[in-house]
């Protein structure tokens, strides 16, 4: 088990290095002089040259990469000229907002998906199954911003129940915070529900057909208990995997949702930094995001292996 974890961590290192390299190259290799981009098209030649010198843009690219990497590893992600803020602290300040909506969204997804899947497992192939299935299908086909707009239309405009913009930090006022976060979290949660439901349903139907369920039923356990105790537990592995693997795409979703609802999260920071052509900040956000995704995938792998011992034997 430990050997497995260690091996996985060792595989991580080149990937993380690759992530930093790709990010750096993407920003520093592409056409478009960075100093020019920062200062705008009417900047004078001297100003551009001066900024280039100041930012060290004249050195060979690998050298700049290594310098930057060195700073990053010590926690110094640099300073954003454009927004006049230190990069890493700004990102870290905004990250909890993003995390909050992602986690809440996943929670909503699970809370909706599990009962729905249990119901369907008890009564497959009936109208309920088809109805929920179609709903899930519709949810998947709807881009998040569209769904968000619909929710805003329904709950903010027509019903005037929930705010469509603005964010109250969790520590300031829990109630207000939850109110401001509800619509964004639901926007994320609905799509997650659809994905979780489909996976869970497939897993449970597959497990229902297995012998051990038949044995349990033969012992006289009611269908509900059989499903809850035996089937659900075995299907949990697949669900955990989907939740974990879904984290990456959810960051994309968070970017959209934060933009739509004007939430001060990391995604909003990313988009604004892109608007302002703040390369340093964008670089920092992307590295943090990618590294987080890689780490989350590692955790998912470990959890997966821990939950399902069979994987251990297959790992080569």
């Amino acid at each position: 088990m430990i050997a497995f974890i260690l091996r996985r961590i060792m595989q991580l290192v080149p990937v993380l290095l690759g992530v930093t390299l790709l990010t750096f190259l993407l920003f520093n290799l592409l056409p478009g002089n960075m100093a020019l981009a920062i200062l705008g098209p009417d900047a004078s030649a001297e100003a551009i040259a001066h900024l280039q010198e100041k930012l060290g843009l004249n050195q060979p690219i690998m050298l700049r990469y290594l310098q930057w990497l060195g700073h990053v590893l010590t926690g110094d992600f640099g300073w954003s000229e454009v927004q006049a803020q230190p990069v890493l602290p700004t990102i870290l300040q905004r990250f909890p907002v993003t995390l909050e909506i992602i986690l809440l969204g996943q929670l909503i997804g699970v809370v909706l998906a599990v009962p729905a899947a249990v119901l369907v497992a008890l009564r497959p192939q009936r109208w309920l199954d088809r109805l929920v299935g179609m709903l899930a299908y519709g949810a998947i086909a709807t881009p998040r911003f569209l769904l968000g707009l619909l929710l805003i239309l329904a709950f903010s405009v027509y019903l005037r129940l929930l705010p469509s913009t603005g964010f109250v930090p969790l520590l300031a006022n829990v109630g207000e915070n939850l109110r401001s976060v509800t619509l964004p979290a639901v926007t994320i949660g609905v799509l997650e529900f659809a994905v979780y439901f489909r996976v869970l349903r497939a897993e449970m139907l597959r497990n229902l057909a297995e012998d051990f369920v038949l044995a349990a039923r033969a012992k006289g356990i009611s269908p509900l208990r059989a499903v809850l105790r035996h089937v659900l537990r075995n299907s949990a592995v697949a669900l955990v995997t989907v939740i974990g693997v879904g984290f990456g795409p959810l960051v994309s979703g968070a970017v959209i949702v934060e933009s739509l609802f004007s939430l001060p999260g990391a995604g909003d920071l990313l988009v604004n930094s892109i608007y302002q052509r703040d390369a340093v900040m964008v670089q920092g956000v992307v590295v943090v995001v990618a590294a987080t995704v890689v780490l989350v995938n590692l955790l998912v792998d470990i959890a997966h292996m821990w939950l399902d011992p069979r994987i251990q034997l297959l790992d080569g």
Partner: protein, 282 residues
């Protein structure tokens, strides 16, 4: 020659579509949307998508002369939706085509060769996979400069690893078959076996994935456009239209919802067709 094999595989996949009503329904939907977007503007008596008409701004659905209403500047919504569809479809299909060609080739090479080549390619794919799709497309598109070609390329950064992974898995399976061993025993070299035996069989496995991937690419493109970082105006795109409709959502929700409906239906059609095909295969 390989292109001909590819086309043949595509035809075979399409021929295998079950003749159920649902398949025909969704295929018809797609055909209708594609026809509407690419051919419609030539055939239908529509005003230009950029023609402003302030007198008729914010007209609701069913207004005379503007079947689907107008936006805040009086531009005809139907025209804008159809032209916007062109962009969304072209970008998505283009990005998936890039993914199939580049990603498919990389994946097949990685899966068939194995060894160091596979390890290198797989590590590169892992790096690309660490970036969420939209984020990757965002930064590539914004730094290449927004244009139809660049947005397609940017989304291609997402589709290439996705397809490469599938193609690699397919190649790993196919190369164990005895017909591959037979060709090798006859003296067929690596490229020969790869192109004549591995490729056609893997293509067959991964072509069905194209549909679902197009659906995903459309969502990403719409997201990019919604954020204002996709294909730039004056070319409309569904995501863009929805973004612009957001401001008037209280007074004239149809401005955002009509393109939203187009988007939804098209994505649903691609997803559903992809699912049907995959269910057929599995």
């Amino acid at each position: 020659m390989t292109a001909r094999t590819a086309l043949r595989s595509l035809f075979r996949v399409v021929r295998r579509l079950p003749a159920g009503t649902e398949t025909w329904l969704w295929a018809a939907v797609l055909a209708l949307v594609a026809a509407g977007c690419y051919v419609g503007p030539f055939v239908l008596p529509l005003p230009s998508p950029e023609a402003t008409d302030f007198a008729n701004a914010l007209a609701p659905i069913g207004s005379p002369g503007h079947w689907l209403g107008t936006d805040a500047l009086g531009r005809d919504l139907l025209a804008r939706c159809l032209y916007g569809g062109r962009v969304s479809l072209t970008v998505s299909i283009g990005a998936v085509a890039i993914g199939l060609v580049v990603g498919g080739t990389l994946g097949i090479i990685a899966g068939y060769r194995g060894g160091i080549v596979d390890a290198c390619i797989s590590r590169c794919l892992d790096v690309l996979f660490a970036f969420p799709g939209l984020v990757l497309a965002l930064i590539v598109a914004s730094y290449l400069g927004p244009s139809l070609r660049n947005v397609t390329l940017a989304i291609g950064f997402y589709t290439v690893p996705a397809y490469a992974r599938m193609a690699r898995a397919g190649a790993l399976r196919v190369r164990e078959h005895n017909f591959v061993r037979a060709a090798q025993m006859f003296g067929g070299g690596g490229w020969y076996v790869g192109a004549r035996h591995i490729l056609p069989n893997v293509l067959f496995l991964i072509l069905t994935y194209a549909f679902v991937l197009i659906g995903i690419a459309m969502v990403i493109e719409a997201g990019l456009s919604f954020l204002g970082l996709g294909v730039p105006p004056p070319q409309p795109s569904w995501g863009q239209l929805i973004a612009m409709g957001k401001q008037d959502i209280s007074d004239a929700p149809h401005i955002a919802l009509v393109p939203g409906l187009f988007l939804f239906v098209t994505i649903a059609a691609f997803n559903r067709l992809g699912d049907i095909l995959q269910a057929r295969d599995g």
